[in-house]
């Protein structure tokens, strides 16, 4: 347990909002997003500018205090997730990770070790050498395409890879990216207020957001042949009757890749004991058209795994897929 004074904790969380302390403080703040919107909180404006600046280089995000930096990170994460644009998600993750590395370049070894530990990686520092266990090393280099990142090009002793500070920070950047990815793709529901903010960005930056540019993708294809293995399994087993988590997952996914309520309803007509009224209600509820008006997102791979529908194939492994949307992008890259 860390007993730093609260201002120190906020300072840390502002720099590294995805750290253990960052997550804890955000949770303890108990911020109601709806209240923020009702109060026209400047944080929402900052979050809007943060995301807009990913699409427009002319927009400058104002300097903020630690509290705003922390809250802004989580609101921005929800906005990029609600937009469902992988290009934008990746840019957001890259920017946040690069921001952390800028701090870490000037940070003490204790600070580097502390953040590493938060990310589940124990490192040691011996003179100017940074030591990381080879099991963490081989996990982190998977995101790096450069051929230089092979275990045998590095000094290795008794299980530890010896790295320069520059190389250590490069690996930590991968760990930070993975942590942010996990936060984004484990968002369970998008509050109305955030969905509205995302819509505003969608309208204001319509051209930049949706004109395909190099590396940018639409969310996905309606063709089941291109679905990730988990979704294909659920899609192919609709007629046998899916358990609740399976129905929820496939409905959210089909909606995200462009199926209408009627199209989804038609797929469910073959289920045992089909009842149009109930099924329509359930689908519309998941799509945020009824009840709490919360549009549920496609669950992350971690969630799908816990439901028992995860059957990773080569693409899942090759592209380290954490969310079904990433699979669609990976598939297109693999078949290019």
């Amino acid at each position: 347990m860390n007993w730093d004074p609260i201002e120190e904790q906020f300072k840390w969380a502002g720099k590294y909002p995805y750290s253990v302390i960052g997550k804890k403080l955000f949770k303890e703040l108990g911020i109601s997003i709806d209240e923020l919107l009702e109060d026209k909180s400047p944080i929402l404006n900052v979050a809007y500018r943060e995301i807009a600046s990913l699409l427009d280089d002319d927009i400058i995000v104002p300097e903020t205090n630690e509290y705003v930096s922390l809250v802004k990170f989580y609101i921005s994460s929800m906005i990029v997730y609600a937009l469902g644009n992988t290009f934008l998600i990746n840019r957001f993750i890259e920017r946040e990770a690069s921001r952390a590395i800028d701090f870490l370049k000037r940070a003490s070894n204790d600070e580097i070790k502390r953040l590493s530990s938060d990310l589940g990686i124990d490192i040691a520092v011996d003179n100017d050498q940074y030591l990381i266990h080879f099991t963490d090393f081989v996990e982190l280099i998977k995101g790096l395409s450069h051929i230089h990142w092979k275990l045998y090009y590095f000094e290795l002793e008794k299980g530890y890879v010896k790295l320069t500070k520059r190389n250590m920070l490069r690996l930590l950047k991968e760990a930070i990216k993975e942590e942010i990815e996990n936060i984004i793709f484990n968002i369970e529901a998008i509050p109305d207020a955030i969905a509205e903010l995302a819509n505003k960005i969608r309208i204001d930056y319509k051209e930049k957001l949706f004109i395909p540019r190099k590396g940018q993708d639409k969310v996905g294809s309606k063709n089941p042949d291109e679905f990730p293995p988990c979704m294909l399994y659920l899609y192919n087993n609709i007629d046998k009757g899916l358990p609740h988590p399976g129905r929820f997952t496939i409905v959210a996914f089909l909606s995200n890749v462009g199926y209408s309520v009627e199209e989804i309803l038609d797929l469910f007509r073959v289920t045992p004991d089909f009842n149009e009224k109930i099924t329509r209600y359930q689908i519309e509820h998941i799509l945020g058209l009824r009840g709490g008006k919360i549009k549920y997102s496609t669950p992350s791979c971690r969630k799908i795994k816990s439901f028992g529908f995860c059957f990773p194939d080569k693409i899942c492994k090759q592209f380290r897929v954490r969310h079904p949307f990433q699979y669609l992008k990976g598939r297109r890259r693999a078949t290019k």
Binding site: H133, T135, V138, I141, K142, Y152, F154, E155, K158
Partner: protein
């Protein structure tokens, strides 16, 4: 194979499993969470079975299988189809097999596929065609694999920090050894991570230009075993002079420069192939990297030799191949068999001389092995 020989071998397996079935799960951690598989004597594979207690295993062994296997992975549901098993973790296993190790001492027999000639000549005596070699294991073969195993454990300890307390070593029952690591964090390394380990140990895909430090692990791999390996094979093979120079260089800076110089040569691929052959460790890459792999169960019998897949410790290995084979015999019994051809060989510490078309009395395991590789037939028990 003669039906009478098949019946003989099945009887040996049946009586062994009747008395020893409980041992088969003894060395397998969390055996209830693993897939079990059984190879029949018709070479059919019965897969996706689970064992919850030794008595359940006993039922599978009543009609004795030729091979008993279990999965290196732990699963949520070991009986489900592959995609639906739910992998939890996978033991890290290094398989050293004499077939894959360069320069291993081995005896050979030759079989002519055309006329059935079996003997010591590469060219068939009868029809002058090329005869196919049959690789024959004996104590000296195992001695060579023990050397390779020591090179492996040295790298695991010094490079990867995997100590002998964290490993279990088994004689595989015929051609080599299995080294198992069953503890975290190693069991959580995924297939891409395992490929990195495989590349490190086998030196696969290396580009020496990218070596930035003389202390890089690839330089250590070459430096650590270079001289030892050169002493063993140096005079027997036409090794390129640069390879000999690399292997005999002791200074790490000089060695690093020499390795970098390889990349600008026209024969760089040949040089790198030699280095892989001589100082790479000849593990079976599929066993290390395939997360759905099955492996022979400890204390089960090898289908070809009837030798037991026994745990071995460093003292056993110091005692050499003779001791390892002797310790793995099911029974001390002897068997009369008709030898078609057997080269000079040493089996469990005893020498046997080249034999053609003769009935002889041999240790049961050797007789069964020769029958299985079609160099002998007509097994008869020797009662007195």
């Amino acid at each position: 194979m003669l039906q009478s020989d098949l019946n003989y071998i099945k009887r040996v397996f049946k009586s062994y499993y009747y008395a020893n079935y409980q041992k088969l799960v003894k060395e397998v951690s969390e055996y209830q969470s693993r897939e079990w598989a059984f190879q029949t004597f018709d070479n059919l594979m019965v897969r996706h079975r689970s064992i919850t207690n030794p008595d359940e295993l006993k039922r599978y062994l009543e009609d004795p299988p030729k091979g008993v296997y279990y999965s290196l992975s732990l699963y949520e549901d070991p009986t489900a189809e592959m995609q639906e098993k739910g992998r939890v973790s996978t033991d890290l296993v290094f398989d050293l097999d004499a077939d894959h190790i360069y320069g291993v001492m081995s005896k050979k027999a030759y079989v002519c596929r055309k006329c059935g000639y079996i003997g010591s000549e590469r060219i068939c005596d009868n029809c002058s065609d090329d005869a196919s070699p049959i690789f024959i294991v004996d104590d000296l073969t195992i001695d060579d694999v023990i050397m390779e195993l020591k090179r492996l454990t040295d790298k695991l300890e010094n490079l990867l920090g995997i100590s002998s307390e964290e490993t279990k070593i088994f004689f595989s029952g015929l051609r080599g050894f299995h080294l198992h690591v069953e503890s975290p964090p190693y069991i959580n390394i995924d297939d891409l991570g395992r490929i990195e380990l495989k590349d490190l140990l086998t030196l696969e895909g290396v580009d020496f230009k990218k070596v930035r430090s003389p202390k890089a692990s690839i330089v250590y791999m070459v430096w650590r075993d270079g001289k030892k390996v050169l002493q063993k094979v140096g005079n027997k093979h036409s090794i390129p002079p640069l390879v000999k120079k690399i292997l005999s260089t002791h200074d790490l800076d000089e060695l690093s420069s020499l390795l970098k110089s390889v990349e600008v040569r026209n024969d760089k691929d040949e040089i790198k192939t030699w280095l892989r052959k001589l100082v790479g460790i000849h593990i079976d890459p599929a066993v290390l990297t395939d997360l759905s792999r099955l492996i022979r169960a400890p204390y089960s019998l090898h289908g070809k030799s009837s030798l037991i897949k026994n745990p071995v410790n460093m003292d056993d290995l110091e005692s050499g191949g003779s001791y390892v084979i002797d310790k793995s015999m099911v029974m001390r019994g002897r068997t009369e068999v008709l030898i078609k051809y057997m080269p000079d060989l040493i089996w469990a510490g005893k020498e046997y001389h080249e034999t053609y078309n003769e009935r002889v009395i041999l240790p049961e395991s050797l007789a069964i092995y020769l029958v299985n590789i079609n160099l002998a037939e007509d097994l008869k028990p020797v009662l007195f």
